[in-house]
Amino acid sequence: MSLERPEPSTHDQVGVTERGLDYEAIDDLLGDLVIGRESHLNAEGFVVRPERVAEALDRLKQQAGFDHLSCVTAQEYDDRFESIYHLKKYADPTQEVSVVVPTSHDDPHSQSGNAVFRTADWHEREAYDLMGITYDDHPDLRRILLPETWQGHPMRKDYDKEQPQVVTFREHANPLQEDHRAGGGEGDTMFVNIGPHHPATHGVLHLKTVLDGETVADVEPDIGYLHRCEEQMCQQGTYRHQIMPYPDRWDYISAGILNEWAYARTAEDLADIEVPEYAQIIRTMSAEMCRIASHMLAVGTFALDVYGDFTAIFMYSTRDREIVQNLLEDLTGQRLMFNYLRLGGVAWDLPEPREEYFEKVRDFLDDLPAKLEEYHDLITGNEIFQLRCVNTGVLDPEMAKSYGTTGPVARGSGIDYDLRRDDPYGYYPELDWDVITEDGCDNYSRVLVRMKEVEESAKIIEQCVDLLEDWPEEEREIQANVPRTLKPDNDTEVYRAVEGAKGELGIYIRADGTDKPARFKIRSPCYSNLQALPEMSNGEYIPDMIASLGSLDIVLGEVDR
């Protein structure tokens, strides 16, 4: 079957056995760094000494092959603060390990993991910003989401929400002023603010750009203009119903069901809920519709960025998105914020009359190849477009891994990593489809990956429709039996991820025995992907930087959360 991996390549790494990971071998590898063990639902956790974090991460990366730092979670207990480094392997994401770093409550500080994983930079800054943990040896420990003058760390228990805040608004630097940031005082550079209100930044992103002539000498993404406290909101809600509406609003480009699935998967693992097969197929189908809608917008806005106006491609992609949105509206009742998944299933069955709905879906799928052909004629076959995109914004696989990129960005750099196949969930393992990778590592490859993934999604939807059509009427079970109030056991911890539209969308939940999560951490793919932007655009022309940003396809709602 096409879902088989070419070859498993993790055999010679420490702790890999036929039956899965041997955590004792990893324990031996870490040796005296370990001061305790924890058991999370997804992986074993090793409590390591706070002053030797980098060493532990380095050993795990070099000798045990954990080359993907997917997330850093910071949380507060009554007596201590804790950072958890969730490690995985790109080659096999089911092999996971958590590195737990406890720090004292009065003076929380631990060593930074930035020397081993580049992506730790931003993740630790976020932990510092929201939780107030200091990371020693961190190159640039500043606030990242909140304004620099913010008082207090809002995810702490003792944070006073009522206290007044002062936020500065400095005059923008004058572009005509002399500026010598690059080149050690000798260079003749110019500082340009791109954003936070700018048509090419896909929302409210601020890029502090230093230009040397027309090339980008340095670019620093400044985020946090849409930090709307999603984690706090989820921690205030009850598992059963109150959290599900929020995932829709993380990646809001019609990717709602993909996000909802991330929460559904995590909470279902946490509370041990089985989802009926029929519901899994509906989830798979609707999620892939979301992926098509999301990739359509990505392609449309990329063309908007590269061609610079509301041209035909943008209108075409909007037209096709409208069709998908209509299908989703028929199914869920909403155009954008679906709130359709429930823990243990979906909200309701397919719309009646079912034949009519299936016919609509099939019509869409039948028209799709011709439309994609049109896109390829307009975009990827266009010589000017190729000039703009081939060999610009190059992100080589090693860097991509170090920054923890996932999704189409990683697959455009030749990294064969797709959680739908590698960490199977839903109905994906039963279906016949392919993971798309491109080896170009450039803007062109990333666009190509998205366009080809639309075809794969269409394949998946078609198979789901076939299955749903033949499903016996009496076995259409859309919802498992889930208790009215969910109270997972105290101190259960789980990190689970799904393949969202932009990459690995993960959620960490720690339960404390009540009906609300004690810690709810979102691992956003865009957050890690955006971090790679300077890597892709330093030394390139400024229009290529805009193209690189477009090809990363970030959603600020998910970056800032």
Binding site: L146, V167, V204, L226, R228, C229, T318, R321, M337, G557
Partner: protein, 225 residues
């Protein structure tokens, strides 16, 4: 009397051969024989303003996706004379605020609004611009756009459908045409210079970090609605 000429009306005589038929229009028919209309200049200006509005291309959050759909094919806001998104605030008449406003963004949005030439109008799109919407309790979320800039029309929804936004814009046009929505000059929330703030504990604490001349926005969460 020997004349081939038919008796013609004064108007016909005055108009000579008559204007080229290509200039005939519904409007001309409606005006009847007289190509003139009498109106108040204000009324005329309001009608013009409402009939040709330049929107600011301004995306914040989820609602901006629906806003894009409103501009694009199918819903096509341009049909109502209000669908040319301008990238620069200096060319725009209307700002649609499509999304949640957080503490860091509010002064920037205020700045964008200030850069728009008068008369300017604001459409608040979505629940977040009304009260903070689903994020109302967030530590970082401004409880509605009206904390920062004056809003003419609120379109509720999370997000509102494109039809709802079209309706909101049409209502705004109607109000402008009727002269109900006067050019707004009220600015409820000013950016202040840091030096002008009351020297309370917080301000003293930040005194060495912030230049006196820096513009700042002060949030008093306890008193915000």
């Amino acid at each position: 009397m020997s004349s081939d000429k038919q008796i013609q009306s004064t108007q016909e005589a005055r108009m000579g051969e008559g204007v080229d038929s290509r200039f005939n229009s519904k409007l001309r028919e409606a005006f009847g024989s007289s190509p003139f209309i009498l109106t108040k200049f204000d009324k005329f200006m309001n009608w013009v303003r409402g009939s040709s509005m330049f929107m600011l291309q301004f995306g914040i959050a989820c609602c901006s996706i629906e806003m894009m759909h409103t501009y694009a094919v199918k819903h096509d806001l341009d049909r109502f004379g209000a669908g040319v998104p301008r990238a620069s605030p200096r060319q725009a008449d209307v700002i649609i605020v499509p999304g949640t406003i957080v503490s860091k963004f509010a002064p920037r949005m205020k700045r964008v609004y200030d850069q728009m030439p008068e008369p300017k109008f604001v459409v608040g799109m979505g629940s977040c611009t009304i009260s903070g919407g689903p994020f109302h309790e967030g530590y970082n979320v401004i409880k509605g756009a009206e904390e920062v800039i004056p809003v003419d029309i609120h379109v509720p929804g999370c997000p509102p459908r494109p039809e709802a936004l079209v309706y909101g814009v049409a209502k705004l046009q109607e109000r402008i045409a009727n002269g109900e929505s006067s050019p707004v000059t009220v600015k409820p929330y000013e950016l202040e210079q840091f030096g002008d703030l009351e020297g309370d504990e917080l301000v003293r604490h930040l005194a060495d970090q912030i230049d006196e001349e820096d513009l700042v926005m002060r949030y008093n969460w306890a008193e915000s609605p």
